[in-house]
C-alpha cells in the first residue's frame, strides 16, 4: 500500500510561532485535512506511530523563524492535543473539558480547546483513527511473522475473530463513555468521516485475512464483517461479564454464522441483513 504523504505548505512564511514545534527530521506526519471537510483516512500500514518524546513542550522560538517549513502545522498540533486529551476521557467524557485538560498537559492554555467542536467530535474521530492505525500495525506484524514462518496462518474465521476482538479491546479503557461517543459519531455532520473510518478498517481486516476459503465477493465481505463488528460492539456496551467473555462468545457465533453462508442466495440476504442490522443497532443505541 502506498504511503500518502501530503506536504502541508507553510501557512505563513515568516511567522515566529509561540508553540508549533519543529518536526523531527525523519518523518513528516500526515496532516489533517482542514476541519471544515474532514476526510479521515485510515493510515496506511507503513505509517509510523507518532513518535512523541514523553511530555512534549511547546518551544518558544528564539530564532528569526526562517526555517518555518520545519515547524509542525496547526493540524499536527491539534493531533497532539487530542492525543493528550484521551487520558482525561474516562473522567470527563468526550468533551471540550477533556480537550482542555489535554491542552494543559502540553503547556497550552485551556482556551486552546476552543479550536475544536464542543461536542468532542474531533476527539472521537481522532481516537477511532488511532485505533484503526494500531490495528493495522498489529495485523501487519502478524503477517510478517507468518511470512517468516514463525507463525501459522490462521483460518479465516479465527483471523476475523481475533482481529475484531483486538480492535474492540481498545475500547475497554473508555467503555463507560463509549455509548456517548457512538451517538456523536452518528451525527449527520460526522457520518461521512465515521463511515469512512469504519469501512477502511473493515477493508483492512479483510486485506490481511488473505481469505481464499470463502467465495464471498468484495461487497459481501464488507457488509458481513461490518455487521459483525457493529453488532458485537453494541453487545459489548451492555456486557458486564468478566473480561467481556459474553461478547467474545457472541462474536464467535456471528463469525461462525457468516462462514456457514454457503450459497449465493443467503449471501445476498445476509449482505442486506448485515447492513440493516448495523444501522438498526446503531439507531437503538442512539435512542436509548
Amino acid at each position: 500500500s502506498v504511503v500518502r504523504c501530503q506536504l502541508c505548505p507553510p501557512q505563513r512564511a515568516l511567522q515566529v510561532s509561540a508553540v508549533l514545534r519543529r518536526v523531527s527530521d525523519e518523518q513528516k506526519k500526515e496532516p489533517f485535512a482542514s476541519s471544515s471537510e474532514q476526510q479521515f483516512e485510515s493510515h496506511s500500514t507503513d505509517h509510523q506511530p507518532e513518535q512523541e518524546p514523553q511530555g512534549p513542550r511547546p518551544s518558544y522560538t528564539g530564532q528569526g523563524g526562517q526555517e518555518s517549513e520545519d515547524y509542525e502545522s496547526e493540524e499536527q498540533l491539534q493531533h497532539r492535543i487530542l492525543t493528550a486529551a484521551l487520558e482525561f476521557v474516562p473522567e470527563h467524557g468526550w468533551t471540550a473539558e477533556a480537550i482542555a485538560e489535554g491542552a494543559k498537559t502540553l503547556g497550552l492554555s485551556v482556551a486552546a480547546a476552543g479550536m475544536f467542536h464542543s461536542d468532542g467530535s474531533e476527539l472521537i474521530l481522532h481516537f477511532v483513527s488511532q485505533c484503526n492505525t494500531k490495528l493495522s500495525e498489529l495485523l501487519e506484524q502478524e503477517q510478517k511473522l507468518v511470512h517468516l514462518g514463525e507463525a501459522e496462518k490462521k483460518p479465516t474465521d479465527q483471523f476475523l475473530r481475533d482481529a475484531v476482538e483486538a480492535r474492540l479491546r481498545m475500547l475497554i479503557p473508555y467503555i463507560e463513555k463509549w455509548p456517548q461517543a457512538l451517538s456523536v459519531l452518528l451525527l449527520p455532520r460526522n457520518i461521512p468521516s465515521s463511515l469512512n473510518l469504519l469501512t477502511s478498517m473493515i477493508d483492512d481486516i479483510w486485506h490481511y485475512a488473505g481469505d481464499q476459503s470463502t467465495d464471498f465477493n468484495w461487497y459481501t465481505r464488507r457488509a458481513v464483517l461490518t455487521g459483525i463488528y457493529n453488532t458485537t460492539e453494541l453487545v459489548m456496551m451492555q456486557d458486564s461479564s468478566p473480561d467481556f467473555e459474553d461478547t467474545w462468545r457472541f462474536l464467535e457465533n456471528r463469525v461462525a454464522d457468516a462462514m456457514n453462508m454457503g450459497d449465493a442466495a443467503s449471501q445476498v440476504q445476509s449482505t442486506g441483513e448485515a447492513v440493516v442490522q448495523g444501522l438498526m443497532g446503531a439507531a437503538v443505541t442512539v435512542s436509548s
Binding site: S17, A18, L20, P58, E74, L108, A112, G114
Partner: protein, 261 residues
C-alpha cells in the same frame, strides 16, 4: 475618542439597548457562548468598560462549575463520608473555580460605571478593573487564556498595535475573540441598515443622551471599519492561527476568533 466616551459613559447601556433594539444582549450572549470558557480561565476584556462581557463570563463559568460539581457528586456515591466531606471543603470556596476576568478600559468613567454595576448586580469575586490602553497594555507577556474586545476595536487608532498587544499578553494556546460591527452581506439589508444608522441613531443619541455628535461619530466609525476578510488578515498578521469569523445577523456584527499557537 476619549471625549466621546466620557460623555457617553453614563448613558452607554441605555443607548446600546435603544440603538440595537436590545439585540446587542443576544450578540454578547452568543459571544460568550462561543468562548465556552471553562472554570479556571483568566480573561482579559479590553475596552470592556461597563462590564457586559465580564458579567456574562462570570455567569457562564459559575454555571459550568456547578454542573462539574454535580457530576463529581454522582461519582462520589461510593466514597466514605470522610472522603466526601473532605472534597466539600475543597470545593466550597471555589464557586468560580479560580476563573477571573480583568476588565481593561482606557476611560475612567466607563470603568466607574462598570464597578457600580458590578456592585449593584452582586458580582463580588473574580473581577478586576484596570485602566489601560489597548495599544499598550499594562500587563506582562503570556498571561491570559482569553482576550476579548467587544465593540471596542473600531475605536482603536492603531488596530495593528492592539492586535500585537493581544498576541503578546495571551498564553500559548490562548484565544483572541473580537465582537464588532462589520460589513452587511445582504444588499437589501444593507440599504435598510444604512438608513437606520444615519437617520435614526443620531436622533436617538440626541434624545436619550443629549449628544448627537458622539453618535454620528459612532455610526461613521462603523462604516470606516475594515470588513470581515480584511480584519481576518490583520489578525493573522499579528501572528494568530486558525483565524475565522462568524457573521451574526447577516454581517451587522461579526465575531472573529484566533489562537496564539
Amino acid at each position: 475618542v476619549y471625549q466621546v466616551f466620557e460623555s457617553v459613559a453614563k448613558k452607554y447601556d441605555v443607548m446600546n439597548d435603544s440603538m440595537t433594539l436590545g439585540i446587542h444582549r443576544v450578540w454578547k450572549d452568543i459571544f460568550v457562548h462561543k468562548m465556552n470558557p471553562s472554570p479556571g480561565t483568566l480573561l482579559l476584556d479590553v475596552a470592556g468598560g461597563t462590564g457586559d462581557i465580564a458579567f456574562r463570563f462570570l455567569n457562564y463559568v459559575r454555571s459550568v462549575r456547578e454542573r462539574q460539581l454535580q457530576q463529581k457528586l454522582k461519582h462520589h456515591q461510593n466514597l466514605s463520608w470522610q472522603e466526601i466531606s473532605e472534597s466539600y471543603q475543597e470545593d466550597k470556596f471555589k464557586s468560580l473555580g479560580d476563573s477571573h476576568v480583568v476588565v481593561c478600559d482606557i476611560n475612567k468613567e466607563m470603568l466607574k460605571v462598570g464597578k457600580q454595576k458590578a456592585q449593584h448586580l452582586g458580582y463580588s469575586e473574580g473581577l478586576s478593573w484596570v485602566l489601560g490602553n489597548a495599544e499598550e497594555l499594562p500587563f506582562g507577556d503570556n498571561k491570559f487564556d482569553v482576550y476579548t474586545i467587544a465593540f471596542g476595536i473600531r475605536n482603536v487608532t492603531r488596530i495593528d498595535l492592539a492586535l500585537e498587544e493581544a498576541y503578546r499578553v495571551l498564553k500559548p494556546g490562548g484565544r483572541f475573540l473580537c465582537l464588532e460591527f462589520s460589513r452587511v452581506t445582504n444588499p437589501l439589508l444593507s440599504r435598510l441598515y444604512d438608513l437606520y444608522s444615519f437617520q435614526v441613531i443620531p436622533v436617538l443619541g440626541e434624545v436619550i443622551a443629549g449628544d448627537w455628535k458622539s453618535y454620528q461619530y459612532l455610526v461613521e466609525s462603523i462604516r470606516r471599519f475594515p470588513p470581515q476578510e480584511e480584519l481576518k488578515a490583520m489578525i493573522e498578521d499579528a501572528g494568530f492561527f486558525k483565524v475565522d469569523y462568524q457573521n451574526l445577523n447577516s454581517g451587522i456584527v461579526a465575531i472573529h476568533s484566533g489562537f496564539k499557537l
